[in-house]
Amino acid sequence: WDEPLIFELSREGRVGYTLPKPIEDVDVEIPEKLKRKSTLNLPELSEPEIVKHYTRLSEMNYGVDSGIYPLGSCTMKYNPKINEEIAGHPGVAYVHPYQDERTVQGALRIMWELEQWLKEITGMDRFTLQPAAGANGEFTGVSIIRAYHLDNGEPQRDEMLVADSAHGTNPASAAMAGFKVIEIPSTEEGTMDLEALENAVGERTAGLMLTNPNTLGIFEDEILEIAKIVHKAGGLLYYDGANLNAVLGKVRPGDMGFDVVHLNLHKTFSTPHGGGGPGSGPVGVKDFLKDYLPVPLVGYDGERYYLDYDVPKSIGKVKELYGNFAVMVRALVYLKVMGRDGLKNASEIAVLNANYLTRKLLGTKGYELPGKTLRKHETVFSAEPMKKETGVTAMDVAKRLLDFGLHAPTVYFPLIVHEALMIEPTETVSREEIDAYVEALKRISEEAYTNPEVVKGAPHNTAVRRVDDVLAAKKPVLSWRMYLELKEKGEVDY
């Protein structure tokens, strides 16, 4: 159905709130020049109307509980409801970050315990939980690398190496921290080109940002060699934790030679993605980097948990306060429920599911699999043959999947694969869901070769048909206020 904008549902005089009365009903004068005089066009609705509006909007949205959500690189695993229940405890919601430490021992203990888990899982020595998301973590990590080199009297190390298959946040974060970004190409096999890496490293090398398995879902099997090359050149190795779900409980970045790691609690540790956030992007480092971590860290003296601001060379803060605490709580609940075996099982099944899907789809006309066949937790097919032969693009395939009630994979990423379809089923979907997904992709292949228009015109059964993003960018309408103005001027016809 179509749900009007909340502004269109507004009727004068309706209210959706109650407020307590002020302690004293005295007039407090606001200086004339600061008093609000401009209009405040907020909607006016009652609570029942608001609840209906957002209930309907929610039903026009696809989440992990709606069905398979195999967005590659996003690890859209099931978000256990117990995480939410614990995160809803008053001891989470109603706690002020500046309370006396003696009144927040529970909160600090949760942060401290979470750090211990993450250390063992990654093979790192110390963690900050402050970053709000993966990219915030990346920025933290590369800022630490920068601080380390400066501290070592090597200000010339201003080049950050990044795989050409890397997430866009890697180069963006490096650039934000002041680095020049150098791309390292991949081989035909889909792994890092070691020769190119050898050629790229040097005195200006600050480090290499890598994810392993990489964004093709392929394990960089020469990772120890890569580490050696970078370390030998004086650079540090940065691990993008987006793909940790592939090796959780199996292999540790720390043992692969990484010096800095960021994790995504909302990917690997089952906290919900919230339609785009909040996430949480803890950063772990080897011992020699721990003095550069943001403040505060969480300490424990055997009796008492405390906030530790005594981090001599700290890069400072990458976010206010201590990070997304409510997200950390969820992740810790997950870890405690899963335990050692559970985490290992999770990775194993995630990898099994990705390979199962890969093998089942392999050989279907129109899709090809670039690089090695053995994948870890995700797989990347290319619809390049289909596009060449039928004109049907990866985007068309994605949109057609929506018609079957399925969420599309990530498309057009990694950039090194043309017409990429990046599929990550995760360990929490059933075999039947994967089978149905493969069936749908096969059917779309058939349609592409027999009746391509049905695919190109997709989706057909969704709340809206294919959305015109070119128009959106050409004629930006970014708020109700802008819409009303443009409508008035006759510049929009919708």
Partner: protein, 448 residues
Amino acid sequence: MGKHYLPNLAQRDEMLKEIGFSSIDELFSDVPEGMVKEFNLPEGKSEYEVFLELNEVLSKNKTVLEMPSFLGAGTYFHYVPAHVKYLIERSEFLTAYTPYQPEISQGMLQALFEYQSMMAELYGLPVVNSSMYDWGTAIAEAALMTVRLHRGKRKRFVIPKAISPEKRAVIETYTRGANLEIVEVPWDENGQLDIENLKEAVENAAGVYVEMANFFGLVEENVKEIGEIAKEAGAYFVVGADPTMLGIFEAPGELGADIAVGEASYLGNPMNFGGPRAGVFAVRDDKKLIRQMPGRIIGMTKDADGKRAFVMTLQTREQHIRRAKATSNICSNEALVAVASAIHLASLGPKGLKELGEVILKNTAYLKRRLSEVAEIPFEGLYFKDVPARFGRPYGEIHEVLLARGIHGGYYIGEHFPELGETALFSATETTRKEWVDALIEALKEVA
């Protein structure tokens, strides 16, 4: 444990066989020999045991429901209406990701467009992104943006000295890579931004940042004038505002802001020991500004049938397309926090937001009046939420007494602002009860 989250664990062997593998290990055959290891971690537990354990741990926190709190200083105890919580916990919102597929994500897209639209109204600026991590990172991103707008030719960014130490630290870390010069303007004898000092600092500045109420809770009287000074010097004007002020205080856009920032989580979201939060980021409707904006933006457009629809737009600014040249590295943001604040705003409406502002203003006035009976208020002027109180003895001692009485006292700021002496910030919002304030003052009378 964790079997209950893993449907295919029971079908593992069948599935392996079906795709020609004989064991799970074979799937990991590309991992170098000896690298796979047994982790030293506890065994998994039943959901009930974890529930019991965490319930006990969290009960160790003394919440502001158990002990009246006067802590503010950038984090406030506002009441979150129950329907807001319920709605954002609906899993279609909660468990979705960034709406990459607009056709099946119209719900979240529209909710975020509505968030942008409501914040546009509050801040008086029509272009708002769908959230930054928090107010602090929003200022830092604004600083970087003003530098980009000057094509890197100006690298100075002016901020008030009376700013939260949290925000100050974030700005510093964020702008280090771009080699910004952060210049602080002190407060004058009334606690207001020192205009004369500003006039010097603004020279060659890329941007000037000011807050409508400063860290001490003091309402900044000369926002408009400060903006004029900034613009005259060719700097962009960035205004920070607590959204709960904006029902009664003029919109930053009307006061001359090119960019406005704030904290969306004050509406519709609990404190959560400091996070998650969500930064508001708003700019004028100016292509130049919009092109340099960080973060995700939702736009209205049409679908193939000409029907109204929503979509993420202007993505060419973003990291997944522009990579090292992006306007920011931000990817995951704080969408759900933003939606919660929008639902709260929609519930308040114009009348409610005004009433909320008034109740806070009046409660702050009451708190200030009562505090002035037992402490010195360093500056005269109008306060919103926070009130500084200077005591004649070390605040740490006072704090201990309050704590023993079951009161979360003020936030000591003497460490960050030694010139203010033994000063702590006490805060009031609409949640503050008269009996709490009275108990506080009674305790302070005995000890201070």
